[in-house]
Amino acid sequence: MRRLVSLVLSAVAAAMLSSGALSAEAVKIGVVLSLSGPAAVFGIPERDAIQAAMEKLKADGKLKRGIELVVYDDKTNPTEATRMVTQAINNDKAVAIIGPGTGGNILAAGPLALRMQVPLLGPAGTMAITDRKNEFYPWVFRVAPSDRVDVKVILEDMAKSKAKKIGVFFQEDAYGKTGVDFAKEIGPALGMEVVETVSAPYAATDLTAQATRLRNAGVDAVFLQVSISSLGASFVKAAKQVGLTAPAYTNAGLAQRSFAESVGSDVDGLRVLSIGNLPYDPSEGEAELAKLLKQAGKVPQGWGELVGTNGLMTVVAAVNAQGDKEITGTSMRDAIEGLCGYQAFARGKPCFSKDSHDGWAEDSLVITELRNKELRTMR
């Protein structure tokens, strides 16, 4: 009898110890972002903000479980992205990945997320990453507004000024073409029609012919679907030269401090869609993040920091929601699908569900206008 009691007590003690060890062990989260290569302009601010916010969450005791971040560089390269995601999951036992950094990289890592049963939180607008037709759909979440939402917000703002005829200038790649297709699709519902489209390759040295064509079409507003900052600046200069006076709007790719500060007064008046407005007109949450960044010796750049922390805050909310339960990739996926209205630095109400893996919507976006090297919020 005494032996039985001793065995039971030992088993209970072992169970308590193992439970304690479980909750003491930090949950590993992979942060796979583009820290070098062309997308580093977004990736580095994303990483800096995640690290600054993490320190603050720890200091404020807002983590119910220990969380450890392991940071990797996907080098803006799909092959590297899959390699780094594999490393984070296999070597570091990460149960969720914030990243990879670009739409293409997320699509490349999607099948891996499905195979390893670990969710990806993608900071990209590319529609395809959360397409329900993807076999890996259950494992990929978007922590930024989608490209479609971006275009809709721009066209809605144009509609307010009674614009009817829209001209589109787009860069010659999949991103540019997608924007044109969305504008043609969304426009009619808002009483607008895309009457002319023109395009240019990345390194075009003159866009006056394109601007002339839009001017000749008599457009009321121009939508620039570009992510190459020099193309955006070049088009606005060309429009002024040929006498195209319709207001020009561009997508969020250019909502960066580096763009605002590098272009001259020629580009003043350009309206730029932005996820929040961290550097110039921050909301309360954004101002808090800007303060954290400054304390960490960083200068707020744009929306990169906001989508980065969207990923972090989603992970933290999912971990906190699980209490002391054992956390796996599957449990993280299930927890994220149940999150709605949790705290984040970006404006807007984040909400995920089983049927919608797009967490951020129109309420996280603002239209800004470029004036004197600053992007000032208009709405």
């Binding site: 023109v198 395009s199 040295t205 003159d206 012919a209 020099s230 030269q241 040929v242 763009f259």
Partner: protein
């Protein structure tokens, strides 16, 4: 007709920059029988440096940076030549490698920012067509530099020595012509011209780190279309490409626009082959 004329005028303005990029290729081909594919990179480097250094001094620093990069290419050329490399394609490939290195350096140092400078806020009217004074400066500079180079190549002793160095390097050396120095100097001149083109683009449309290869290809297209060995033909080739590009942007749609100028080059080269090399690719 008015619309067509406007596109042609805009194409001529844009084409002068292609002509400026084609000139270094012509010059080097005339003296060393090879091509410098780093010309676009010199233009990019000049624009990047001129962006970070304020005022007119920025232009000087930008040009100096382009010439320094071209000097590095000239050094590579001389080393390869002295170690027995005779195949001209090796020099061309080396310049391509340098171009990639320069573009990577720009990305590393300056990121993906746009290199754009404000130019004129008032425009001239030419028969109702609004013209930027900057475009006129670009065209004027392109014509001036082309004429100077033409005179240098075909009406000066230095030009004769330069052409002799390309036609028969060994014979030129035996005749006392400093072939290596001439070829190195030609690379430096290429850096200056590429840098000038970069500064013109900086004040016109602007560019970023991705521009290097595309500028080189545009310059190369302009150089070969009517004959690479003559500066005058390079300028005409550049303007023809600019006009083709403007007309494509004005009258075609979608992804076809970018294809048209190079299609135009292909057609001209093909037609000239049919006519027995009368127009393109031949040496005058």
């Amino acid at each position: 007709m008015y619309v067509l004329t406007e596109y042609v005028v805009r194409g001529v303005q844009a084409g002068s920059i292609y002509g400026l990029l084609a000139l270094p290729m012509s010059l080097l081909f005339a003296t060393a029988g090879t091509i410098d594919f780093a010309v676009g990179a010199y233009a990019l480097l000049a624009a990047a440096v001129a962006t970070i250094v304020a005022g007119p001094l920025g232009i000087a620093f930008g040009l100096a940076a382009a010439i320094t990069a071209a000097a590095a290419m000239g050094g590579i050329f001389l080393i390869l030549a002295r170690t027995g490399t005779k195949d001209h394609i090796v020099f061309a490939l080396a310049s391509f490698g340098l171009a990639v290195a320069i573009a990577s350096y720009i990305l590393w140092q300056f990121g993906t920012q746009a290199f754009v400078r404000a130019s004129f806020s008032r425009f001239w009217s030419l028969g109702g067509i609004r013209i930027s004074p900057q475009g006129v400066i670009n065209l004027g500079l392109g014509v001036l530099v082309t004429l100077l180079l033409y005179l240098l190549l075909y009406w000066s002793d230095l030009g004769r020595m330069m052409r002799a160095a390309a036609a028969n390097p060994r014979g030129a050396e035996l005749a006392g012509i400093p072939v290596a120095r001439i070829q190195f100097g030609t690379y430096l001149a290429g850096g200056l011209l590429g840098g000038l083109a970069g500064i013109m683009i900086l004040y016109s449309a602007g560019l970023d780190f991705t521009a290097s290869l595309s500028l080189t290809l545009s310059g190369f297209g302009a150089a070969i279309i009517f004959g690479i060995a003559s500066p005058l033909r390079c300028l005409v080739g550049g303007i023809a490409m600019g006009v083709a590009e403007a007309l494509a942007a004005g009258y075609t749609s979608g992804m076809v626009t970018a294809m048209v100028p190079f299609l135009f080059v292909l057609i001209v080269l093909s037609l000239s082959n049919i006519r027995g090399g009368a127009m393109a690719g031949d040496r005058p």
